[in-house]
Symmetry: none
Subunit: 413 residues, 2 copies
């Protein structure tokens, strides 16, 4: 079963807003067995909207339309839909009561243009909107369901959850679709694909594998449809197989983040963490602290950009920095041990590298990062080469450090 | 002149990622005089991609395609484009050299499938990609320009900025369009619009004002088209007027960031900065250190999540924390002064607040943040209330701190 999302609004096309509605709708539709076949964003223009509706109706069984239902002149979706179906408007008493109620609790009088919002096309079933002033509309014409909703995210979500998804589930017998995503860190897309080539070739016909790369990680997404029990069983077997194949790099599943996974392990093992950052400049700490409740296991960080501050804040011996340089195994280990002491934590991570664009040498080119880790089991460090994009070096170094911690924690008894 | 964006990838349709590329491309195309007529997201499916290309070529003069250029089997854009134009592939030596170089600086061998990435359709002009392994492709066929780019945002942006936008500007005679953006911090969209209502009403007919809100800032974008000299002259006058009206909140123009503006001021005044973060958790430090060359004026940070670490690392008296609480004027001032001493810097910023979701009280609700500043001129602090979204509180508190520093530096002789 196929659906298409049509988003209406100039603000999307000129890039004034990022369309987050479509991704959310895509997830919801997928979960009830629909495949979103296409997302089409068009301007607030009558002909353009009419053309998009017509084309979509030839491709899919369900057309979900958002946007253009506001009370102002530039919002023309409702009028255009009337033209599309060649129908007039009717006044919907219940929709008007909803609008009047909303104005009352905000202490305001209903204006004329808001009264007009209670008018809906004659052939629609009204989707009452308790979250805003524009009702949604459900049409079932020529074997295609069309739904028109406001573009304001929380109003659209209200209508989808309360009205649209239940109606779609009732109307369509949905096939079963299952997704499972494996999250890897520390290996590129091409190496990963070589590593699992045999697995990929042997996938059942109803299973599909996608590689989704992002800075510092590659997600592997398995998708299947078919009989619920059969698909679920095969998926579990395949996920287990694939997990073994990529175990060295696997840090989690689906919506996990590496900082959450590491955080959960720290919490489970009742261990605390401190960090000492040079080249990552606070980003490692930001990843850890953006998780609510991280103060339970995360003690803090020092960002020591200057050599002097490494000595002043972390007691890294000045001799060590002079002898080996700030970007070295010796110094990053001393930073990790210093952080452990200063924050009185069980574990510590430390980073020191050349994020660039300046500061590289033939021996230590831009992108060279040393990452140190100290746990009750000992202290060690490793070097990674991350290329010449400053921001990516910062992000990948931070994720690499968290993954070192995750692995180390898993190995601890 | 019309353009269409086609984004290819199942991950967009199932909602696994939010398409941020299209909004960015929309902004860039707008700036050089193109109107994005439609954004179409399609799956990694040959027939679907072919249909989308054909339909787009009937609607617009420029088709910008992103996604599906990875080295793995699910990426079929390049092959499909060959079919669309009915051409074969050729091996591009320079593209291969780029790939080999990228692997070399990461200390790895080029794999067979990455070698294949250097193959491009016979009829394309290769857009060399220094930011990744997939080259971009430029086609000029049947009066329509088609551009294929990777979907990874930083690679797409690199190719757009270095290759696509310059080529489009050279090829198409664009009407003169001028944009100027004023960046404000510390005032909401609706207050701003009341403040400048008269200015907005009096704008010449060929000038348009857009409000672009983001976490912690509102951008005001003036856009005009027409005769170059006339538009430029009027724009300069209007920007000067508007700058005076919003001067209290204005921190920069166009692509400035508040951390760059503050950094430039520090450099110009030969002053150094240290920071002490609690609720911002390293994000303030990350903003400062993501600027290349920031080590010239930025000394470092302490992220002190626990009360003990505030004392251990910044010498904040334990009594002070006990008496006033960690989120207080007294403590945040002591943190700023502690950071100044520890980092031996001229200035310091400090943050302490309740980012949430837990930890709020009736007197100090979630979103309460104290920000302290210490300069050669003295130490003071202010309180802001930033609401109940943890990430937004972290971002806005960091920007507010940088804006306090910027204003303070401007007032110093």
């Amino acid at each position: 079963m196929l659906a298409e999302i049509i988003t209406i609004g100039d603000e999307i096309l000129i890039g004034q807003i990022v369309d987050t509605n479509s991704a959310w709708i895509g997830q919801q539709m997928n979960a009830i067995g629909f495949k979103v076949h296409q997302i089409t964003s068009v301007s607030d223009n009558r002909e353009h909207i009419l053309a998009a509706l017509k084309e979509a109706s030839c491709r899919v069984q369900v057309v979900l339309i958002t946007g253009g239902l506001g009370p102002t002149k530039d919002d023309i979706t409702k009028k255009t839909i009337c033209d599309y179906f060649n129908v007039g408007l009717r006044f919907d008493e219940q929709a008007y009561k909803d609008v009047a109620h909303l104005f009352k609790i905000r202490g305001r009088e209903v204006t004329h243009i808001n009264r007009l919002q209670a008018e809906v096309p004659e052939n629609c079933s009204t989707l009452y909107n308790k979250a805003g002033t524009a009702p949604g509309m459900w049409f079932d014409e020529g074997g295609v369901v069309y739904v028109s909703m406001p573009g304001v995210p929380h109003e659209m979500k209200y209508l989808m959850e309360m009205e649209v998804l239940p109606r779609l589930k009732a109307k369509f017998e949905s096939p079963f679709i299952l997704h499972k995503t494996l999250l890897t860190q520390g290996i590129g897309e091409s190496f990963l694909s070589e590593m699992i080539a045999d697995f990929e070739d042997a996938l059942p016909a109803n299973f599909k594998l996608a590689y989704l790369p992002a800075a510092g990680s590659v997600r592997l997404r398995l998708t299947a449809s078919g009989n619920r029990n059969e698909v679920t069983e095969t998926m579990n077997r395949l996920v287990a197989e694939l997990s073994v194949l990529v175990s060295e790099y696997l840090y989690g599943f689906d919506d996990d983040t590496i900082e959450e996974v590491a955080g959960r392990l720290l919490k489970a093992k009742k261990l605390t963490l401190g960090t000492a950052e040079s080249c990552t400049g606070g980003f490692l700490s930001h990843l850890l602290t953006r998780i609510p409740g991280s103060s339970e296991y995360y003690m803090g960080s020092t960002v020591t950009y200057s050599n002097e501050s490494k000595t002043a804040l972390l007691d890294v011996p000045a001799d060590l920095v002079r002898k080996f340089g700030a970007v070295s195994e010796e110094v990053v280990k001393a930073m990790a041990e210093g952080a452990k002491l200063k924050f009185n934590s069980d574990c510590a991570l430390a980073t020191s590298g050349i994020a660039g664009p300046g500061g590289g040498t033939p021996e230590k080119p831009v992108g060279t990062v040393w990452i140190g880790i100290s746990t009750p089991a000992g202290t060690w460090a490793k070097k990674v080469l991350l290329g010449d994009n400053r921001l990516i070096t910062i992000e990948v170094a931070s994720m690499t450090a968290l993954n070192m911690l995750r692995k180390e924690l898993l190995e601890m008894r």
